[in-house]
Amino acid sequence: MNLSPRIVPLDSLPRELKSAVQPHGEWRLGLLTSLDGSQLITLLLQPVTGEIQLWESPIEGNRYHSLTDFGIPQAHWFERGLADLFGLFPEGHPRLKHLLMHDQYPVNFHPLRKTPLSPEENPFSTRRFPFLEVSGEGVFELPVGPIHAGVIEPGHFRFSCFGETILNLEIMLGWVHRGVEKRMTEVPWQRARFVAEAAAGDTVIANALAHSIVVESLLEVEVPRRAQLVRTIALELERLAMHIIDVGGLATDIGLLGIAASMSRLRGKALGMGERLTGTRFMKAFVQPGGVRKADEAALSFIGKGVQELRKDVPPAIDMLFGVQAARERMSVGKVSHSLAVEFGFVGILGRGSGVEYDARTVFPHGAYPQLAPKPVIEQNGDIRSRGKIRAGEISSSLDVIAAALDELTDGPICADLPRNLPADKFSCAIVEAFRGELIHLACTDKNGAFHRYAIKDPSFNNWTAISIAIRNNLIADFPLCNKSMSLSYSGNDL
């Protein structure tokens, strides 16, 4: 969607932003970033009507007053990111630590900043991560990671415990910071889609789709209907596979290995459908600007059959998981309250599990949405079980959507021809409901028609805060289950 920024002076930004974003206003903070370190870019989304606003606030120097400190907790991690990537330092930020770049980078290295910063302008002399210290008799710290016992991504967790109870949890991420956003501006735009897809390895379709929408709207290209539908099918297949394995993960963590085994098998089935459609199990290099790479009739009818089978096989396993009483008991922890979810702007499963009725599929156009959008699944309790139930509900609604898209599928071209050059000096953004939640791509072209700045906001970026809050005062042994229920992405956050 093409945008043109409105200039909001830096002085009035906090006030205007606070009155606009939830819980005071109706908007949510989509993105808070910068183009090259000399301005703040604020992307605001209306989660009901689907309006989008882009604000630009020029900055003199590299200091501004922290928005978090002004009472906008949604901006908390964005400001940490700004400090790391652009050297823009928020004054009065309650807990300013580095987010993406750990202490082996030079202190004064800010990859996305166009004009280098002199050391005097940098308030920090070290990149040490000052963990919050909890003191008192019997309180001890338990460092976990970044390398874990299972095969998962790296992240360092610092638990402050009192006996078996977690008093505080601090998370240090950034171990897989690869410079995706910078790389996006360095490669030719025709090849940028491969970089975009790699932002998070399990969110391939959603990232590719968001990137395609950004490019298509810059180029003002109409995507054929068939391609839209096939994209929808691919997106839902991705959601299906990931939700199934996440539910299976819950079962593994509470020790119901039989159910977990079935879920792994079913997830394999969903991935197999994706492979048949795209050629790779995680569906890489399939969605491209203008449409999709291929749409084989045989593959589509195979998916139709697969959907029928999954409809039969998945619900019994899930019902078994949620029916076991002891499992319900285990899943009754890790609460995220509704007010917290609104205040921090949690998205996706996490938000909907706490009663936030926001599903980008019903609001923002992508693929065949919002026409085909299912009714969002909402749970009120905010605990592990309600997040699990939402996954279960979305598994079945995804199956329905795939079936509906297959029904609607007609013959036609699957890819539009694209012009050779991107227009100059334009903004464009795309909002896609990935399986974890709202995924945002924002692009800005320079005067040569190349990407000047390409920002990606993974859903996990909003949600990482939730885990530390949800697990507070719970048992250490409940942390893995709580973590699994949120299923956050490390690489999506680190980019």
């Binding site: 009483q325 002891a326 319900r328 008991e329």
Partner: protein
């Protein structure tokens, strides 16, 4: 010095009743109740075999109805009401269970005190019966969910029945049948009342029933 088989069965019923105290999980509770009542049915049948009175077999069949019918009925209610564990107890469940064991010891002493209970040495029959009675009372006193109170009442009832079974030589059958009928009707009525409690109070936690009191 050997225990008679009928004493062993009675003891088994008491053990099941004690284990019932240890869980707040209603379904597990019902399973233990079922075991406990089955043991009492077996006891009835065994005593009928010992005494050669076939009429006791009918009583055994009646207890069997109690052992199977009531857990099924209450299980159905639990499923309908979507309540599956006790919201909280006045006494932690494990402690309660261990208290139940102490009570079994106490009831051994008690049954020694009651004169005329089969000879000079207390039988484990009377011990188990009084122990079960205590378990039922503990269950009723320490649990907050209405279903547990019904189950507690049933356990008390079983304790009394077991006492009658082991200490008397044959209560008239019609009386036993009458008692059984009353118990079944009581469970039906209270069970149906549970639905109303759930509807009005949104839970079957009886500690919420505090509206009526003086002042």
């Amino acid at each position: 010095m050997t225990l008679d088989t009928y004493e062993v069965i009675a003891l088994f019923a008491a053990v099941a009743a004690i284990l019932m105290l240890g869980t707040t999980h209603l379904r597990l509770n019902l399973t233990f109740y079922c075991l406990h009542t089955l043991a009492i049915a077996a006891e009835t049948a065994w005593i009928s075999y010992l005494s050669g009175e076939p009429q006791h077999l009918i009583a055994a069949a009646g207890v069997l109805v109690k052992a199977l019918g009531i857990p099924i009925f209450l299980g159905w209610i639990i499923r309908k009401l979507d309540v599956d564990s006790d919201v909280g107890t006045y006494l932690p469940a494990p402690l309660c269970m261990h208290l139940g064991i102490v009570m079994l010891g106490v009831s051994y002493l008690l049954s020694n005190q009651i004169p005329g209970v089969n000879g000079d040495d207390a039988t484990f029959g009377a011990t188990s019966a009084i122990g079960i009675l205590f378990c039922g009372i503990l269950l009723m006193l320490t649990r907050k969910v209405a279903i547990s109170q019904i189950v507690g009442f049933l356990v008390i009832e079983n304790g009394i029945y077991l006492f009658a079974l082991t200490q008397t030589r044959g209560m008239p059958l019609i009386i036993e049948m009458g008692l059984l009928l009353e118990v079944l009707v009581a469970v039906m009525i209270t069970g149906l009342l549970l639905f109303n409690i759930k509807k009005s109070f949104e839970h079957i936690d009886v500690t919420q029933l505090t509206e009526l009191r003086d002042q």
